[in-house]
């Protein structure tokens, strides 16, 4: 997993809780990296699972909620870092529809070996979008957070219906409908 995700996660923890909480969850986990993350590095995905688990334990908030919240946070960061990706797009469904062929293409330019999730996208009509998420990283909740924040960013009300196609958040269908 790219270091940027870890750095962003720890910054969110520091902002939402405290710097001490960051120290604590790092101390809670025996991390190979020792928690010394740099945005340009790459670290094992299990370290993220461990950190989220530790945060959940300490705060009593369920892991899925924490990951979804992180997804929402991450979208905001993504927007402020890469505002160019949003050029000319005025609608959340349009933005999400092109996640594979536009956004992921751009991300791969910046991070050539990034392991990105795959989305199967269907756009039956202008008001509907179906996204099927698949990833070995089981970050269906992160995807949901990103999607929800994207909708919030554009402002147009869209309902998100989530259907888990396995029990490990690795295969999830999102049906988005503009209301």
């Amino acid at each position: 997993m790219k270091g940027i995700v870890f750095v962003e996660f720890l910054e969110m923890v520091e902002g939402s809780f405290s710097a001490d909480m960051v120290d604590d969850i790092i101390d809670d986990c025996a991390l190979e990296s020792g928690g010394a993350y740099t945005a340009v590095g790459t670290y094992h995905h299990s370290e993220m699972v461990a950190l989220v688990g530790a945060l959940s334990k300490r705060t009593g908030t369920p892991t899925p909620t924490l990951i979804r919240t992180f997804g929402e946070y991450l979208f905001g960061r993504f927007h402020s870092h890469h505002v160019g990706f949003f050029d000319g797009i005025t609608d959340s469904l349009d933005f999400l529809e092109h996640i594979e062929d536009v956004i992921h293409v751009q991300v791969r330019k910046l991070y050539p070996n990034a392991e990105l999730p795959r989305f199967e996208i269907e756009r039956p009509n202008v008001n509907q979008l179906r996204m099927v998420y698949r990833s070995d990283r089981h970050m269906g909740d992160l995807a949901e957070g990103l999607i929800r924040q994207c909708i919030a960013h554009y402002g147009t009300p869209v309902t998100v219906e989530r259907q888990d196609l396995d029990d490990r958040c690795g295969h999830v269908r999102f049906n988005l409908t503009r209301t």
Partner: protein, 453 residues
Amino acid sequence: MSDSKPDPDRLLRRAERERRARKEAERLLEEKSLELYEANQALRRQAMLLEDQVRERTAELHAALERAEAAASAKSDFLAVMSHEIRTPLNAVIGMSELLSLESLAPEHQEQVQLIHESGRNLLALINDILDFSKIEAGKVQLEQEAFDLVELLRSTLRSFEAQPAAAHLRLLTTLGTIPRRVIGDRVRLRQILTNLIGNAVKFTARGEVRLGAEAYAEADGWRLRVRVEDTGIGITPEQQSRLFEPFSQADASTHRCFGGTGLGLAICHRLVKQMQGDITCTSRPGQGSVFAFDVRLQSGIAAAAVPQPAVDDGTCGCAAPGVRVLIVDDNPVNRLLARRMTEHLGHHPEVSSSGAEALILVQGNDFDMILMDVVMPEMDGLETTRRIRALGLPHPPRIIALTANAFPEDRAKAIEAGMDGFLSKPLQIEQLRNQLCSTCLANHAPGGDRPG
């Protein structure tokens, strides 16, 4: 943990974490920098390698081009030399066999002599075609821009076939649309194309007709002449048609056995038509006859301008007064012998000279009526010799007739300029020589002629 006073140990560990993260980032940066540097170097090497390859390839191509040009130049030099070397003895064979055929021979021998004569002529036609094609291929054919009568050219070219035995059972017809009489272009080359196409049509048509059609369309500064040569002959299959305009490809091998020819005629036509900014096509079906159509560009001739006709005297005369004094100037002994024998045979008085310098002396001590002057001679050529003879201002200037292998317009212009009066093309043919001698004879006896009979 107190909010106001962070644990120093915790701060140390944070600092340590930050430091390690920074080091890791620096290490990654270094790694990436190195990768970039190496990729850059590899690209640079690749670019240099490509440049070297391009340079090498360019040099190779340059060398190949030079070799090809040298080879082409050697080829055309060789052809020029061979042309002369082959034609000279061949002219002797043709001329001597013609002379021999005038003797009273046993019918069997007469037939053999005729065969020698015809074979010689065929061989000469073949050599001329090959040389002509080589010249065209080498881009050495410069088209003339002379004014001529287009209608007359079309009609006379077709007419020249009427006397041929092969055309005896054919109707030769012309269909001329709007045709300007005066045009500017290469008359000789245009006639060559027409002669080739009509010749083929006649050759491959046993009965029926050969029709020459022509029409001209006005174009900027000139005319687009479209010509059709139609026949009712054996026709050509589609696969034969595809190779028709390629050199050395007759319709098939059996064509050669039945009809002879070099297989170069149409290739030459094709090249010439292209050079005249046109195209040539063929439509045909076996057994249904063929249509060859071509178009060429001609410039408008100035209507009022008189069309200069080459000063060739080819009118026959019934002159029965022999005794024309002829000087034959040729460096080749066989040619001299041939011309001398023919002149004698016709009842005139030849003298021979093997060089221009010698001829200059001879003309001053003798009173020649006519000089047969070889154009190509070592040291002093026929043109220079003619100029010097003219410069002598002889009281009775002889008629000077050029002997040339190729009577192309440029050769004619040069000869006229040098002061010559006419041309005979090699191989010398007895009928043509007779005509020239008759003309001289007539000039001698003409009232007001500056010469006593």
